[in-house]
């Protein structure tokens, strides 16, 4: 899929009626968060008053280094505990739920540092994503005939996805032997195995060979076009502007702006916060987030 096609997607306004102000209401929100707070020691990492994510869109979460993007991600997906706050996914409250429960609810995430399961084959990585496997119960594991049918169906599904993500030739290789970009693809494909309604991508382009970036972007827009909701954290402004339907800007843990790419591009506050901090970022590269 070419970049042109990807951009066409952004041409359609999927955010009808949404005001470009922090905390704005959406017509059909899939995720609604209220008063989410998390501090480390004395430092407030995340303090989000109100934010909504529109169903079936690509929403980008941006902000300077240390703005709390990854922390917010971890909180929403149950990988970290909030000090306070509540949020609903598909109308059900999921705050306080643990990571695996959030994933089962249909909100699946990937990681900034890819977590390919290195000493397992690519196909095993994929199969791990399949939900509701009888053979994953300890007692069920012994009843090979019972789970074998399910296993065959899952394998078929995994192969389709691997085909789509161009990893089919690698299916019997150890995931550890894949390149950085291939691992990102594998992680995305694996998360699709859980059949999620919303995918949270933590810096999907970080450390990816530029040649692969376009293909990754294509996959992301394809997800949206299938009706899935995508929320992703990213640094690269060009990427964000190109494919996002909506952008949420975080600085010092707060939402300072929201809007369509065109709104954000023009927002002086964002430019100040983002570009100002961007210079610092260069200096402290490697300090991690």
């Amino acid at each position: 899929m070419s970049s042109d096609e990807a951009n066409v997607g952004a041409g359609v306004d999927r955010m009808v009626g949404a005001e470009p102000v922090p905390g704005s209401a959406k017509s059909d929100p899939i995720l609604v968060a209220d008063g989410v707070r998390r501090s480390f020691g004395g430092l407030t990492a995340v303090d989000v008053e109100h934010v909504e994510v529109q169903r079936g869109t690509i929403t980008a979460l941006i902000g300077p280094n240390g703005a709390g993007k990854s922390t917010l991600f971890n909180l929403l997906t149950g990988f970290d505990r909030v000090d306070r706050g509540r949020w609903t996914f598909e109308g059900r409250a999921i705050n306080g739920k643990r990571g695996h429960q959030v994933a089962r609810a249909g909100m699946v995430r990937t990681f900034q540092l890819t977590k390919a399961l290195t000493r397992m084959t690519v196909l095993d990585n994929m199969l791990l994503g399949a939900p509701g496997q009888f053979g994953e119960r300890m007692a069920g594991a012994f009843l090979r005939p019972v789970w074998q049918r399910q296993e065959r169906e899952n394998t078929a599904r995994a192969l389709v996805l691997l085909e789509r993500f161009k990893l089919i030739d690698k299916r019997d290789d150890m995931a550890g032997s894949l390149s950085g970009g291939q691992r990102k693809l594998l992680e995305m494909a694996r998360s699709l195995m859980t059949d999620p309604s919303m995918i949270m991508l933590d810096e999907p382009m970080a450390g990816v060979n530029p040649a692969l970036v376009q293909s990754l972007l294509g996959h992301i827009t394809a997800l949206r076009d299938e009706g899935k909701t995508v929320l992703f954290v990213e640094h690269d402004m060009d990427v964000i502007m190109g494919i996002s339907d909506w952008i949420v800007v975080l600085a010092q843990g707060r939402v300072i702006a929201e809007g369509r790419p065109s709104d954000i591009r023009a927002d002086q506050q964002v430019i100040d916060a983002y570009l100002g901090a961007q210079e610092e970022t260069v200096e402290t590269q490697g300090s991690g987030e």
């Binding site: 480390f40 020691g41 990854s70 922390t71 991600f73 971890n74 990988f79 970290d80 990681f111 900034q112 933590d202 402290t284 590269q285 490697g286 300090s287 991690g288």
Partner: protein, 520 residues
């Protein structure tokens, strides 16, 4: 690889089937027998000689034996069956009695199967202990592995006499003081453990054995160094100089000069050690305990620095995973513990001249002067360490690295050098902790491992990776361990510390002073 292995295995199996059996199976051909070893309850390395044991089948005497100089005895039996074994209580030295339990009134019945060479445990205990019947006074009382109850003195050292008549309040005070004392010792030993974890994210399972090392070295130099001490000193001097050269002059000297100088120092040390070893005991010297303790601290620091410089740093640079490093440190602990055992022996020792002291009455609390000194030294050292961490450059660097290694590295701190200093500091403090612990109790080769369990409880309680946490946690663990003896048997001390640790993990896994961790 696998085919080669299978070939080797097959060859071995063939060989086994060909080699005639009786060669190896000899020990099994002897039919039935009863045997055992009767040990001196005060020193389990020695047997008790001349105790008579007779075996009866019903009323018929089958055989008799007398223990030899190692306390060993053996009686051959004609056939499988049930036998009555009688220990001749007259032959037991008058200071001991046969311990009741398996043997009742000097007799017991045992069932012997075909081809069974059964061991039978006959245990002695001090003559006084049996009458008291109090579990805490029995020879198996302590956590020690050799039930070496030194005339009841050992328990007294752990939990000062809570002797009859004193009120609960007085006992409480007394135990609080000894809890603080014990806690200070734990704290001193545990700081290194916590700082090492902070800087390298590695749990040093060999830390307990570094404690033992300090205690043993101080014992050696305070009771007469001779050949062994001289050699050890020479080796450590050599390696210590090498590590120091590396640590201090790395930036200033060209690389080849540096490496040559280090190797010269190491080989010089080894050569000197060999010479001194050959000269043997002709150069005999001994120093007072405080000086021996100082030597132990320096050698402990060298040991820590050496481990970091020649084991951990290379492993980190090879990118060895943390989990593997844990296993390496377990292996090192095994090596260190048993090398110490080979060099210094398994005996239980005390620092000469400090065992028996008149107690000083301080208000309601009675303390031995040595315990007062221990407390004084411990507090002074803890304050000094706190000042080091708070006010000196290297101390601040240690805390910075401990806080966030990557951030410290990117802000220009030489992380490897700081880690080296942390290991040196930790090793020195562990050695000092060993001396203090040994002074308060006894010196033996497993003392450090037992203290390690309490140190773990301390660092987890206080917060893994924080030096102050180790201090606070150490004190808390010491107090809990001692005060628990008010209500529970003293053998449960460690169990309470463990329970405290588990409770902490449930409630606040980051510890009292630790920070909640960031995930992802």
């Amino acid at each position: 690889m696998r085919t080669r292995l299978v070939t080797v295995l097959l060859a071995l199996i063939t060989a086994i089937l060909v080699i005639p059996g009786p060669v190896a199976a000899a020990d099994e051909q002897g039919g039935e027998a009863l045997h055992g070893q009767i040990l001196n309850p005060e020193n389990r390395d020695q047997g008790v000689e001349g105790i008579g044991i007779t075996v009866y089948d019903g009323e018929d005497e089958i055989g008799a034996a007398e223990t030899d100089s190692d306390g060993m005895w053996e009686v051959e039996l004609p056939e499988p069956g049930t036998y009555r074994v009688v220990v001749d209580q007259e032959s037991v030295p008058s200071e001991y009695v046969v311990r009741e339990g398996i043997i009742v009134d000097g007799e017991t019945e045992v069932e012997v199967e075909a081809d069974d060479r059964r061991p039978l445990i006959v245990a002695l205990e001090g003559a006084g202990a049996a009458e008291g019947g109090d579990a805490s006074e029995s020879p198996s009382e302590d956590t020690a592995d050799d039930s070496g109850g030194e005339a009841g003195g050992e328990d007294g050292a752990v939990a000062p006499t809570t002797g009859g008549g004193s009120s609960f309040g007085a006992q409480f005070l007394q135990l609080t003081v000894s809890g603080i004392l014990f806690g200070l010792v734990i704290a001193i030993s545990a700081i290194g453990l916590s700082l090492i974890f902070g800087t390298t994210k590695m749990i040093n399972f060999a830390h307990g054995d570094m404690v033992t090392f300090g205690a043993m070295v101080a014992l050696l130099f305070s009771t007469g160094a001779a050949g062994l001490g001289n050699s050890l000193l020479a080796i450590f001097a050599g390696i210590g100089i090498a590590v120091l050269i590396g640590g201090l002059l790395e930036a200033r000297l060209p690389r080849t000069t540096l490496i040559v100088a280090q190797w010269v120092a190491i080989f010089g040390g080894i050569a000197l050690a060999t010479t001194l070893g050959v000269m043997g005991d002709s150069i005999d010297w001994q120093v007072p305990l405080w000086l021996a303790a100082a030597i132990a601290v320096v050698m402990g620091a060298v040991l820590g620095g050496t481990m970091e410089r020649y084991i951990w740093r290379p492993l980190r640079h090879r990118n060895v995973a943390l989990i593997q490093m844990f296993i390496v440190s377990i292996g090192l602990a095994l090596i260190l513990r048993h090398v110490i055992l080979v060099i210094f022996g398994a005996g239980r020792n005390r620092y000469a001249g400090y065992q028996i002291q008149e107690l000083v009455q301080l208000g309601p609390v009675a303390m031995a002067p040595r315990d007062l000194v221990i407390m004084g030294v411990a507090v002074a050292v803890l304050v000094a360490v706190a000042c080091l961490l708070q006010f000196t450059r290297i101390g601040k660097a240690m805390r910075a690295v401990s806080d966030n290694r990557d951030l410290a590295e990117s802000s220009g701190i030489d992380v490897d050098r700081v880690t080296l200093y942390v290991w040196g500091l930790g090793g020195g403090l562990a050695a000092l902790g060993g001396v203090l612990y040994g002074l308060n109790q006894v010196v033996e080769y497993e003392m450090g491992f037992r203290l390690l369990l309490l140190m773990f409880a301390a660092v987890i309680l206080g917060g893994l990776g924080t030096a102050y946490g180790a201090m606070v946690g150490g004190l808390a663990v010491g107090l809990v361990a001692m005060l628990s003896t008010l209500w529970f048997p003293s053998q449960l001390m460690q169990a309470w510390a463990l329970a405290l640790m588990i409770l902490m993990l449930l409630v606040r896994p980051q510890g009292l002073l630790g920070r909640r961790e960031r995930v992802g």
